[in-house]
């Protein structure tokens, strides 16, 4: 096979989108083919270049204000005073409901259903906190990439001291932290950067030993959860789920009992 034909495979493999068989083939192929190995590392270099040098444009404030006004103007002057909950909280319907049904069919175990529902609530709450912080511009209370600054700052404001880790070397530089409210509880939020996206990681003391449902998508944001030895880790962002899972897994693994 001519290696130019492998361009697509190498590219989807570099994206983590090749299936297991193709990925295995690609992994073995680059060990013996210099051309494709160079192709692969050039792709990774290109990605690094994009992350470092290419802007992710942000909507200008004037545009933001204009579309908000349009939304308000489009509402009927006399709105119906009452709407069913399903309409007000649309994400409770559709996807989430289907998710619950899927879980029931797959497991039909009462506790699992409870965990799944609780997981939806946590995911919805976490996404609300994440978007509220970024829309309000209140993302960071303590801006620092130094965990020795962020950790004591958080510990002084909470009744627990969350482990804080800078993962700049792995592509997740720590940019700061804040105290936020998740389901009525004051929790630590660590803010990481990944490429042009910001990631909120909510950290709270482990409530139960039940392994959380690892992945949820709410209103276009991904929520990935994992339990460490002492803390529960909940990451929210619009970065791809693989990167988000890698970050959470890493954080939960570092969280070991003292």
């Amino acid at each position: 096979m001519k290696c130019t034909e492998l361009e697509t495979l190498i590219s989807s493999w570099a994206d983590g989108e090749a299936d297991a068989v193709q990925a295995d083939f690609a992994r073995r192929h680059v060990l013996t083919c210099q051309d494709c190995a160079a192709r692969h590392s050039a792709l990774l270099a290109l990605r690094e270049g994009v992350r470092a040098e290419v802007p992710r444009y942000r909507a200008p404030p004037a545009l933001r204000a204009r579309v908000r006004r349009a939304a308000e103007a489009s509402a009927k002057p006399a709105r119906a005073p009452w709407k069913p909950l399903r309409e007000r909280l649309p994400w409770i319907g559709g996807g989430a409901l289907a998710g619950c049904l899927g879980t029931i069919l797959a497991w039909s175990v009462g506790t699992t259903i409870m965990a799944s529902r609780a997981s939806d609530e946590v995911a919805v709450a976490a996404v609300s906190m994440h978007t509220a912080a970024s829309i309000g511009g209140h993302v960071i209370d303590v801006a620092s990439s130094d965990r020795h600054t962020v950790k004591p700052w958080l510990a002084a404001r909470l009744d627990y001291s969350p482990p804080v880790l800078d993962l700049a070397a792995e592509g997740f530089p720590l940019i700061g932290g804040r105290v936020d409210h998740l389901q009525g509880q004051r929790v630590a939020a660590l803010v990481y950067q990944h490429g042009q996206h910001s990631i909120d990681v909510f950290v709270r003391p482990l409530g139960s030993r039940v392994e959380p449902v690892p992945l949820r998508t709410v209103r276009g944001f991904h929520v990935v959860r994992a339990n460490g030895a002492t803390m529960e880790w909940i990451a929210v962002s619009d970065v791809e789920t693989d990167a988000l899972s890698a970050l959470v897994t890493r954080l939960a693994r570092e969280d070991v009992a003292q």
Partner: protein, 182 residues
């Protein structure tokens, strides 16, 4: 009809993502604003019919459609047939020539310029993947093409970028610029 609170919760968090896509597709800040504003009006109209959890892909799809309608009205010469051959043969009329590019090339902007010079069909999948970090499935939904086409267009977009005269003019091998394979 449309509830401003729903709009605030569902669309506003993805306004930057939508604007970024429109900005890369139009290559102009003012045009991007027009496209996003039109997309928001459509989103308001269809908000009640949104049932899936993936509001981001939903809104990006609306932005992309608004862009193509805008393109047909304002730059009809750039509209191309969405057939594979047409896409492959597409020459971007509005993009700078390699000589022009090399002259105005500036180290900081070189990669952005090279992306802007990609033909539309490649530019959109590249931006959705590398800047917006959408999965192949999400890109397929937004761009309304099969996943296999997402794969091949991405590979081709990357190949075009790596062989871009712009990157070579600056010897930007650290950005993945490389020569044609033999």
């Amino acid at each position: 009809m449309a509830d401003p609170r729903r709009f605030e919760q569902i669309v506003m968090p993805h306004l930057d993502a939508g604007y970024n896509l429109a900005r890369w597709l139009t290559r102009d800040a003012r045009d991007a604003e027009d496209v996003v504003q039109e997309a928001c009006l459509r989103a308001l109209k269809y908000l009640d019919s949104l049932t899936s959890a993936d509001a981001r892909a939903w809104f990006m799809t609306i932005v992309r459609n608004a862009f193509y309608d805008w393109l047909a009205r304002n730059r009809p010469s750039e509209v191309i047939n969405d057939e594979n051959e047409a896409v492959d043969a597409a020459v971007d009329l509005d993009s700078p020539s390699p000589e022009e590019s090399a002259m105005r090339a500036d180290q900081r902007r070189v990669l952005s310029d090279a992306i802007e010079a990609l033909p539309l069909a490649y530019r959109e999948v590249f931006v959705l993947r590398e800047i917006e970090e959408l999965s192949y499935k999400e890109i397929a939904r937004v761009a309304d093409i099969p996943v296999g086409t997402v794969m091949s267009r991405l590979a081709r977009a990357r190949g075009l970028l790596q062989r871009s005269p712009l990157l070579h003019a600056l010897g930007a091998t650290h950005l993945g610029a490389r020569d044609e394979m033999h």
